[in-house]
Amino acid sequence: MFCEKAMEMIRELHRMSDGQLPAFNEDGLRQVLQEMEALYEQNQADVNEAKSFGRSDLIPSIKLRHCCLLRNQRCITAYLYDRLLRIRALRWEYGSVLPANVRFHMSAEEVQWFGQYKKSLASFMRSLGEGEGLDITQDIKPPKSLYIQVRCLKDHGEFEIEDGTVILLKKNSQHFLPRWKCEQLIRQGVLEHVVS
């Protein structure tokens, strides 16, 4: 049957329902486009024949191939769009710098798109609060206090806090730090929020 490859790509994304980004399936995409080209060419030939020789009996087959063309188009559009939704989510989960193993799964165009999304989000956040700027990726939950107790889950090296002091984030060490400084590191699993 036609459109099997396109379905395979959709299933591949659907299996990772938590929003992880699988490797960009460049080979699959190429195969679908090839199938579409073949369908289109076959239809062109049949349309010409139907016109020139009055072969109206070819029309049902032309229609069937046309449906397959549109189906492939839908699958690919949905594939690319769903990946963009996942890539957008990465900005909120990881922050503006993605780890290499995640970036590795993106196509060149997706890397470019991520860069542009990052930029428009940043310029929107800068425009807030009468030029002061506001980081809307912080304080997703109402903060209870300005400082929180955190424990290091792994060695992360030196870390500068707002007053200029540098502290060493060493595995299993505990610190009392400004909440807004740690939120991203907690999300990334470097620090753990300790609630008494």
Partner: protein, 211 residues
Amino acid sequence: MSTQSYFPVPPGVGMEENFLSLDDILLSHERLPVRTECSFPRLGFLERSSDAHDIPEGTKMELPLWLSKGLYERKRKVLSVDLPKVYKEGWRTVFTADPCVVDLHKMGPYYYGLGSQILHFDSPENSDIAQALLQTFIGRFRRTMDSSQNAYNEDTSALVERLDSLEKALFRSGQNGLNSFQSWEKGQASQLTASSLVLNYRKRKLADVQT
């Protein structure tokens, strides 16, 4: 509870599909029994059981929903669509008698979704099918709700296994509400947590290293 920032395109549910929804694309890949009402020249290879050049008129075969919808026309029939057996009268009676005992996952898993889509093909039984879908949902609602609300410490996997894909989605929204309330009660709601996405990535990376 960790915040989740990936929101996939939701399924359309009912007669209209959502063009970009992965769920709807999978649903529309479900196969329907059809009979060709004309011949399809040069496409014989699509039918596995024959090696003829054409698909002749009167061939019984299975086509995915999306293709059946695309080819179906009321005026000039090239295709007639038969009802899958779960929507036929025999099964409809079973469903309405006691909707709770049916394993909709095995029967579906897109029992409601596919059932709604089938209404596109003018069958004389359409209104009975639509009625059966609604009554089945209503009849099973209490169980779906109770299991999603009470299930926190009990094993409901056997029950959840028998839910249709849309009921499963409902079950998950019920569990979300319950879990986030219970974690608030335990005082965990204000705790900042690692992103589940990040953690899952790490798990996968580890699995890759081990294999």
